[in-house]
Amino acid sequence: MSRLNGPARDYLAASYVLGTLTARARAGVQRRLRRDTDLTDRVQFWEAEFSRLHRGRATVLPPDHLWHLISEKTVNKAPPTIEPAAMLARRHRRDAANDAEATPSAATATVNPGFWRVWAVAASLLSMVLGGALIQRLVAAPDAVIIAEAPQPYLGVLAVEGGRWLVRVPVDGGFIQVRVEGAPKVDRNRSPELWWIGGDGAPRSLGLLPMDGAVQLESTDLAPSDAPVLAVSMEPRGGSKTGKPTGPVVVQFPVIRDL
């Protein structure tokens, strides 16, 4: 992409803002925007121009209950349980070259405890089944038919000495939930970083992992894949500066959708 000339880069930026790119190409541009300031400038140019087109479009009043749902997740939510890890993750994200609209940034929120109870049981069963070994896909690809409800999220269990991280990745973007069980042993000068390896084979950082408690990480541009893999690498404090894993990969897990 960096070899593209000006007009081609401009066309790519415009296509991204216009929305004609496929999911995979969109994800590629979103990744690129984190370090390509020229492309970022072009995207911002088109965003500013096209945003004019919203003027005068029909507004629709959302139902009242939506505010309550939103406020429960924002203004009324309990303080995050592991603010330091989340702050680290957020700072790491800010270190990225820019903060374009589609680039994910880490965010904290508490996680529904009921979800984790169910998930912890499922994870324990899963660990028994897997015996720590890597597995191939456990479930078939979703039927290529009309599916009205949201697709099943991906689930992963990443165990290291002393503890493990449970990870839930929604298929269509949004918040990745991470919860720590036990006390994963990590060198004090290192930060464990979570990676997504999708169909394009390129590791994509999902943020830094907490050492205890639970955290939500935001991500919307994961390369789709039939059999994605989650991995944890030990990075210098604050996370990889290159956008790619630089330290040893201590555990990986081919994620599953369901038991």
């Binding site: 066309y11 216009l18 929305g19 500013a48 005068g56 507004t59 009324n76 599916i147 973007g173």
Partner: protein, 177 residues
């Protein structure tokens, strides 16, 4: 005013966030309903958007444009991501729940708020051949990919692609100082 509300939201002022929501939610929801075509999807997406706005209010800067435009961009990208994820699973000739396209260009009355009259972009759009203009506006408002545009405009894929490409090139030239 919206800028001040965003600033206060970044400082975790819950009243400001509420006011920001009340001032802008109908705009974002209108966009999401139009693009996603299903109310339940739009309702979920709206929650995602305001969660993101709450978490990212501190990253808004005036050079990113008008606050509402910034928020609409968040909503549009969320809708595009959902549409792309969903259309991997949904046949593109599934037209259920898709409303008939309303007039693609804002009418003159709808833009009466501008003092300076027609903005440069609208002027440049108006100069485009009609099929190029229609392709760009359909893509922008409806979130169509090239194959979907081809289907919607009942034209060959290659033709539609070149309408989009040429339309964008001409727009760029027209918008350049």
């Amino acid at each position: 005013m919206l800028s001040a509300l965003l600033r206060s939201t970044a400082e975790r002022d819950s009243r400001a966030f509420r006011l920001l929501y009340e001032a802008t939610a109908s705009h974002l929801f209108g966009l999401l309903v139009r693009m996603l075509r299903q109310r339940d999807w739009a309702e979920e997406a709206l929650q995602d958007c305001y969660l993101r706005i709450w978490n990212r209010a501190d990253s808004y800067a005036p050079e990113k444009g008008h606050p509402l435009a910034w928020m609409m961009t968040i909503a549009r990208y969320r809708a595009l991501d959902l549409l792309r994820a969903r259309r991997e699973l949904v046949s593109i000739d599934d037209d259920s729940g898709r409303p008939e396209l309303v007039s693609a260009l804002p009418g003159p009355d709808e833009d009466a708020g501008t003092q300076e009259g027609m903005h440069h972009l609208e002027h440049c759009l108006a100069e485009l051949p009609s099929e190029q203009r229609e392709a760009l506006l359909l893509a922008y408002y409806e979130g169509y990919t090239h194959p979907e545009l081809a289907q919607r405009m009942a034209s060959p894929l290659g033709t539609v692609k070149s309408w989009v490409r040429r339309g964008l090139q001409r727009l760029r030239e027209c918008l350049s100082p």
